[in-house]
């Protein structure tokens, strides 16, 4: 994997990021119209008042000047202030990031592990009951809206059975630190994490199954058996590692979606992460906040796509030693 390869991929990612920035600007400033007029619709403002407000929001000057000011601000991570809370957008995002990272991160890992395992079972037992069961189950969870699944789990486990809380991050009565806090958060996180894990694992199962079925057709497996290896060894040492390559890439890509992956589910469970923040920003709409969130989400995906490309190149010797 040459430096040139890495530099090339990095450059491509930066270009994509640049396009996102331009798109972001274009969408919010140009398409949405004059933000000041939108915000203060219905109120009678004098022109000088409007001009003052525009200056305050950095909306004066020509389009070009505004664009460069926007770029400058973005690079310094100044995304403006939220319309609703008037706090800097970046601090809002920063403070609400960890609940999402915790929730979606855990779900992403669990869904990958369980999904891959199911996929291996399904492919190896192709056509038999375990294959049928695994694929039917994952197809069902994959076909429903993730937040609806969340609703069902919430009703059954929290409302009806009362085993888990109905929402929120933690009990206001427990102290904010220490083991008790961690356990409390974990207890609150159980249902949303279960929802997301079930929702995501279908993808892994289907891809692992398909990849393993393709790999099982390969001739080097026949050679492996001819050498006298046991079937299980052939599967685990030759078939599964080769079939895992596309899955690893998928994991890396899905990590990029960690930040944006739970918007609807967080809403259902009132989980105070970036997803809920996005939902709250929609009432308004709180445009600077939405703009900032969109940038952060996109940047996360772009970065992890880059990581995924590198990971695949590293793991597949055909690419690494090309």
């Amino acid at each position: 994997m040459s430096a040139r390869f890495v530099a090339g991929k990095a450059l491509a990612s930066l270009v994509t990021l640049a396009f996102v920035l331009v798109f972001n600007y274009f969408l919010f400033r140009v398409v949405a119209g004059d933000p000041v007029a939108n915000l203060f619709r219905g109120r009678n403002l004098s022109d000088s008042q409007k001009e003052q407000l525009r200056q305050q929001f950095g909306l004066d000057g020509s389009q070009v000047e505004q664009f460069f000011r926007y770029l400058e601000q973005t690079v310094t991570l100044n995304f403006g202030r939220s319309y609703t809370s008037n706090e800097p957008v970046m601090s809002e995002i920063a403070s609400r990031a960890w609940p999402t990272i915790a929730l979606v991160g855990v779900s992403a890992i669990l869904s990958a592990l369980i999904g891959v395992l199911l996929g291996v079972i399904a492919a190896w037992n192709r056509g038999r009951k375990s294959d049928y069961a695994a694929t039917s189950f994952t197809m069902t969870t994959y076909s429903m809206p993730d937040f609806w699944l969340g609703m069902l789990l919430l009703v059954f486990f929290a409302v009806v059975l009362g085993w888990f809380p109905v929402g929120g991050l933690s009990d206001p009565n427990t102290p904010d630190e220490g083991l008790a806090y961690v356990l409390d958060v974990a207890w609150h996180m159980f249902l949303p994490a279960l929802t997301l894990t079930l929702a995501y694992l279908g993808e892994y199962t289907l891809i692992m199954r398909s990849s393993l079925l393709d790999t099982m057709r390969e001739d080097y497996l026949v050679l492996a058996r001819a050498k006298g290896l046991r079937d299980v060894v052939v599967r685990n040492r030759h078939a599964v590692p080769n079939a895992m390559l596309p899955v690893i890439t998928l994991v890396a890509i899905n990590l990029g979606f960690v930040l944006s992956g739970a918007i609807a589910v967080e809403t259902i469970y009132s989980w105070p992460g970036l997803g809920l923040l996005t939902y709250q920003a929609l009432t308004g709409p709180d445009l600077p906040l939405l703009q900032g969130l969109f940038l952060v989400f996109s940047a996360s995906v772009i970065v992890f796509n880059f990581v995924a490309d590198l990971a695949y190149a590293y793991l597949d010797p055909r690419v690494r030693y090309a």
Partner: protein
Amino acid sequence: MSETPLLSVRDLHVTYPGDVPAVRGVSFDLRAGETLGLAGESGCGKSTLAGALLRLLPRGTGVTGEVLLDGEDVFAMLPGRLRAVRWTEMSIVFQGALHTLNPVRRVGWQIAEAYTTHDADAPAREVRARVGELLEVVGLPAARADDYPHQLSGGQKQRVLIALALTCNPRLLVADEPTTALDVMVQAQVLRLLEELQGKLGLAMLFITHDLSTLASACQRLAVMYAGRIVEEGPSHEVFAEAAHPYSRALAEAFPVIGDPRFRMAPSGLPGDPPDPREVPSGCPFHPRCPRVVDECTTWEAELRRVTTGWDAACIHVRGDG
């Protein structure tokens, strides 16, 4: 000289799922140190035959008949015994052009795996030494052990496969199209290598190919397959020069030998295609394409008739005496 043949195949039938008969009653013997060539066009069942010998065909394939390896019934072997026998008594040199080598493992590792499968306690030093030794026997530098398959040329990959096949000192080597898809010059080199090894190690060899001309010099005896059956079997030079079966003759003539005046003025080829295994013609399966066809050929059950001692052909024109 009536020792038990090393390999004895009796009335082997192989049927793929969907009632596709690939091998329809094949019988032959192979003695220790003997070389038998098996020739035929694509689809005649020769590769299926190779796979059947060590029970390497996919699950669900119908196999009947008898395969005796040094007197032991291969089809009756328990899985443990079968795995122990694979590669140590009989090994296969697969066609290197396909994905026969695991693309994400170094070739040295793949040879070592064959070694350690049958000798799990061998110290790493010993395994490494053996790998190096095998590579050098086939004419490759020992350092090549650290290469990945895609870093090797076609000829080099084929040599690796030969080295791999010799790892456990088998007594019988099955070479399944080892020179197909190689350049002519490389073909000649690989053929020479195989002949050399066979002589030096006293291996019995079953050499499968569609190129009859390579068999004439490499093998003592020659068998020709058509539509799942052996239609002629005899001493290689005689069969190649003056085949008793019209198909063998056509096959021999299809591969002109440069310099041989017989080929200069008579370009040849046979009209038609080999029959679809699901729709084998009645009587002698070759009769639709045969230049010497007569009326009885459509109803005659084409069984092998004696041309002379040690030479049989399944043609109605063979008188059956001698």
